[in-house]
Amino acid sequence: MITAENLHKRYGSKNAVDGISFQLQPGKVTGFLGPNGSGKSTTMRMAVGLDRPTSGSITIDGKQFSQHKAPMRTVGAVLDAGATHPGRTGKSHLKVLAATHGISASRVQHVIELTGLGEVAGKRIKGYSLGMNQRLGIAAALLGDPAVLMFDEPVNGLDPEGVRWVRSLARQMAAEGRTVFVSSHLMSEMSQTADHLIVLGRGRIIADAPIQELLNSGEQRVLVRTEQTSDLANALTARDVSISHIDAETLQVTGLDPRSIGRRALEAQVVLHELTPQLTTLEDEYMKLTGDHVEYRSGGAFEEAAQ
């Protein structure tokens, strides 16, 4: 179990992590979602002792990572795909790490096969692609058969097969009762992998809830198509109902369910051509949650820039 209590990290005048507290449960994949610079990687680095918290604490099973007798058997972390010496081979990198905990050569070979690195394990890491480096990082994390897995942006650079493999690996590890903590800025990735989400923005937690709860918390929107948009708009007008015109024949209604809209349309003798509930996507919810917490915002679209 990973527990953060009032965790702060300050770099000069910048608060990278601003007093966050959370608790991750075993048996679940917890997604750590947030825009660039929101403090996800810094939090993970503090969890494994690479960075020191300015104040507060983050512990694994009640102890700081460095206090564990067998760190690699406690936490397997993939924090940086490039955290290897390019002059070593993939296999020698794994053997060097395995030697610290007396992990057997057969286990090294097992994780090499598991991560699909069999053909390149004997080659120098400097020739590896980003995807191969990611796989090597995952192999290193799995070496100690740890109780906690921590992946920082694990699908970066992976091909579609690799992405699916990481996704199923995370699910499988959680099903085995391990604590799985995965950071990403890809909402689609999280929606397919995580059970629980912690959303971070500018170093603060802006949501900490099961993924389904986040999806359910969104407003219900209904797309309605009719030739009598003004009649329908008049019929639907009420407090807590908002109506927006998408085009001449399409309205988007928020605050009423499709059944009520259909009934009122009938009462107003408005012919409907379409009545579609709009499902809130995680992306919608994420954008809504992090809208005010994005540190690095892109400029306008190319078209706007060109004008």
Partner: protein, 289 residues
């Protein structure tokens, strides 16, 4: 047909437990891992091969010169100890080469980012540092021993009156041991500089300055200040002077400043090594990786 959907996310999760019989991290295991890192790097092998080759070549060249001079002029023939000392001239190159290996042993961890993997496996920073230091000492000690023995062998074959069996002579063996210790300490000095500066270029340049430039600067200063006593103290405490005092039983014979006792020289060398090591270790243990 009714189907029941089980949401694994909300099902009561089981907890994975670590097999407590499996071994954890230990100092020896960490040292073995660090030694494997050195072994896996081409740079380690290249620097070590060059060290041995250069040391043996210099020993052969020096022995050959001695032999030639002795044949031309019997007054030039030295005693066995003198020839053995000259035959170890390659150890000065060994100091800079293996000192550089000491720098690189830690700085490449930072320049490649591998320090993050190392610290994730061994998060106890002093343990990691000590293991790294021990692996470096074992490596450089082995390489230097090979260089010293081969140099002695070649010198004794070429130049008389040094013979192979003289390696058991107390004075010659002591000189070889001192030379061996100096090279190993210099590699640790490089390690300390690398740890402190986290820069390969910076560490190697400072090491070269300590070994080759400081002596010249102090000599000039000694002359400029009219042999000032404080400069004399600095010259005595200067790194290569301490090495000379530790290795050469005849140190001070041709020196501008009085020689120190061998034990004083060793204390001085240990201080030179301890200062960057301590400062580097403090930086290593307190800073983010």
């Amino acid at each position: 047909m009714n189907t029941t959907h089980i949401n694994t996310a909300t099902a009561t999760p089981r907890t994975f437990t670590i097999d407590s019989t499996l071994s954890g991290v230990s100092f020896l295991a960490a040292a073995r891992s660090e030694f494997a890192k050195l072994k896996a790097l081409r740079t380690s092998w290249w620097l070590s091969i060059i060290t041995v080759a250069l040391g043996v070549f210099i020993a052969g060249a020096v022995a050959f010169s001695f032999q030639q001079f002795a044949a031309d002029d019997s007054a030039m023939a030295g005693d066995a100890l003198q020839i053995a000392i000259q035959g170890q001239a390659g150890s000065y190159f060994a100091m800079i080469l293996l000192g550089s290996l000491g720098v690189i042993a830690i700085t490449t961890e930072y320049s490649t980012g591998a320090i993050r993997s190392s610290l994730t496996a061994v998060p106890q920073r002093f343990l990691l540092l000590s293991a790294k230091g021990l692996a470096l000492v074992i490596w450089t000690a082995a390489v230097t021993a090979v260089m010293v023995l081969l140099s002695h062998g070649l010198t004794s074959i070429i130049a008389e009156p040094l013979s192979l069996g003289d390696i058991f002579d107390a004075e010659i063996a002591g000189m070889y041991a001192a030379s061996w210790v100096s090279v190993v300490l210099t590699s640790l000095l490089g390690f300390g500089l690398g740890l402190l500066l986290r820069s390969s270029a910076g560490g190697i340049v400072i090491l070269a300055v300590i070994m080759f430039v400081l002596q010249m600067v102090l000599s000039i200063l000694y002359g400029v200040t009219g042999n000032a006593a404080w400069v004399e103290v600095l010259m005595q405490a200067e790194y290569m002077n301490l090495v000379d005092n530790a290795v050469n039983p005849n140190a001070g014979e041709f020196s501008m400043v009085p020689a120190l006792e061998a034990w004083q020289a060793y204390v001085g060398l240990l201080i030179w090594v301890a200062v960057p090591m301590t400062l580097g270790a403090l930086r290593f243990s307190h800073r983010d990786a």
